[in-house]
Symmetry: C2
Subunit: 377 residues, 2 copies
């Protein structure tokens, strides 16, 4: 029986993780759940999974929730709730599925206390990669990636020697605008961008997938997770999203992980690691799918990818700026305030004016994140 803490249980990854646990109650137990402010769904989850503790970031909502759930369930509030629940003793796995830079602090807290982390929060490694890797190394705790691409790479590297890796190939679906050129992209609307062909995800991630910023952020994450140089990370567009990513070894051999596009596979893998368990996801029917195709990414029309690579190579706090500026720009695009092609422009301008701090502390990262957001809001 593994004791699991889910930070961000009411989001897309959180609810899918609970679906996995629901089907495997003999193997997994929910120790704690947290939500930002969706206490209606959290209440249902509490009733079903009976965690010992819950966290609600929004203090007012936490007070409302308290009155509707059994008194023996402890309710923590504020951002500190995430850190406290992540660093509890007796936990086998902390799924960090919150959105935003709060994930970095929670991940660091989990790793510092020696807890294993199933990482589904993008900001963690993008903004604080060095701190996170240092913490994991220091305590001997591990990060199991939950992103489909990084889980694929992680799976391909089991039993392999890292010295034998020549590069990794991150696959990208290409998003809803694959094949469109700049002039056509000028006038796409949020509702077009939110219509992803393969994956069902949150709004922010879906827009990032349309700009290819998502893939850029994944490059930065992969660099830290697998100790690679940026030049060892290639992106190819694979519209069917069946090959989730690949590792090329120095003998010219490539290992790939494939599966139907369903996040429950990488979530279950993180929970069951190093073993595997039966999942509710159907197997890939190759002859029915018929073919898998590959294209070069269009760096010209999707400049966010180039910006992310540039930020990754500069390092320090530059990826923090990339991430914060992108988040604000995406929010403004969803609200209809700016056009699609303004997203990379906003990110680029923020990067151009930033004074990089080479080896930032957590305080530096949070400060740069805050300043970037304030500057753009």
């Amino acid at each position: 029986m593994k004791n699991i803490v889910i930070l961000g249980s009411t989001g897309s990854i959180g609810t899918q993780a609970l679906d996995i646990i629901r089907r495997n109650k003999a193997y997994f137990k929910v120790s704690a759940l947290t939500a930002y402010n969706n206490i209606e769904l959290l209440k249902d989850q509490i009733e079903e999974f009976r965690p010992e503790k819950v966290g609600v970031v929004d203090a007012e909502k936490a007070e409302i929730l308290k009155k509707t759930i059994p008194q023996d369930i402890e309710v923590l509030t504020g951002h500190a709730a995430l850190k406290d629940l992540a660093s509890q003793p007796g936990i086998d796995m902390v799924l960090v599925a919150v959105v935003g830079i709060a994930g970095l602090e929670a991940t660091l807290a989990a790793l510092e206390s020696g807890n294993y982390v199933a990482l589904a929060n993008k900001e963690t490694l993008v903004t604080g990669g060095q701190l996170v890797i240092d913490a994991a190394t220091r305590t001997g705790s591990r990060i199991i990636p939950v992103d489909s691409e990084h889980s694929a790479i992680f799976q391909c590297l089991q039993g392999a020697d890292r010295q034998d890796v020549s590069k990794i190939i991150l696959t990208a679906s290409g998003g809803p605008f694959r094949g469109l050129k700049r002039d056509r992209l000028e006038n796409v609307r949020p509702e077009d961008a939110l219509n992803h062909p393969n994956w069902s995800m949150g709004k922010k991630v879906t827009i990032d997938s349309a700009t290819l910023m998502n893939k850029g952020l994944e490059i930065i994450e992969a660099k830290w997770l697998f100790d690679l140089s940026i030049d060892q990370i290639q992106v190819i567009v694979h519209p069917q999203s069946i090959i989730h990513s690949m590792v090329e070894f120095k003998d010219g051999s490539v290992l790939a992980q494939l599966g139907m596009p369903d996040m429950r596979i990488p979530i279950l893998y993180a929970f069951s690691y190093p073993r595997r368990m039966k999942s509710p996801v159907q197997a890939v029917d190759f002859t029915r799918i018929g073919r898998l195709t590959f294209e070069e990414p269009d760096m010209e029309s999707f400049p966010c990818l180039t910006l992310a690579i540039r930020a990754a190579k500069i390092g320090g706090t530059m990826p923090v700026v990339l991430n914060a500026a992108n988040e604000i720009a995406v929010e403004r695009f969803i609200n209809g305030d700016i056009k699609f092609m303004d997203i990379p422009d906003i990110v680029e301008k923020a990067m151009d004016t930033h004074q990089v701090i080479p080896r930032p502390s957590l305080a530096d990262i949070l400060q740069v994140d805050k300043e970037t957001r304030e500057l753009l809001s």
Copy 2:
């Protein structure tokens, strides 16, 4: 430095193995080489690689060779030479690349003496799978497959737990006659069959690839190598031969090994295992290849696949009959004595009249092999 014995050094796999060794002389040393009767090429190989011992199966040719090479190189003759050289002490790897059932005896000799075997001989596991696995288990020696498909599966299983495997998927190029129906296949000629689209191989293997018997034999080999039931082995046609085979796990995740179709990758992997080394084979350029396609195999037009599955399920000496009858039929087809579609007919008739010995000894296997050949010649 690994000491390597190559049985069958003048054949297709043997010469490619020597190419690998030529490029990595700091890591691999040739201890012994053997040939059936091609002493001209063997002499060149002796000059270049300076083995301590050589074997020539043909005794007359052995005598001729002796006069042309340095006297300190010991020359063994007859089939016993293979067994003797395979079971020498101080050997790190025996590459069994001879053609025919002689490979079984040599493999058993190597495994019994505790030597590791890089297995490129199809007959070994097809005819004597149980004996081979028993010998390896008893002595703790290992078999590293050199077939591209089995090497792919072997690579995908590194770091995995066998209990987590749901099935394996062997890919087949489909050979030169992919898409042709029975009536068109009636009149294909040996020269058509010898024109394989992707792989450069020996004649016998190339015809087996055209009838899909090759894939049938690989099913039987995979059953023994990976301890699977026949129902856990699926064949799909993948004309580009880039995905060399795949493993499906019970969580719905699939691992695949890919590479350019070049036997030097699996040969080098067997030699360098568990590590990898730089190979002369170019990496896969996915965007240049553009697409990978998949089809169901046409069991109707290529009945050899069905026959092999039937023989595998019956077990005992039935695969021995399948293999021997097929070899004779292929030989007769190459000589122009029979038509292409007579190959499965001959195999089926031989199987229909065979009285199966359930758990055959080596003597039983050799006897059934001999009898089947005599009956058909």
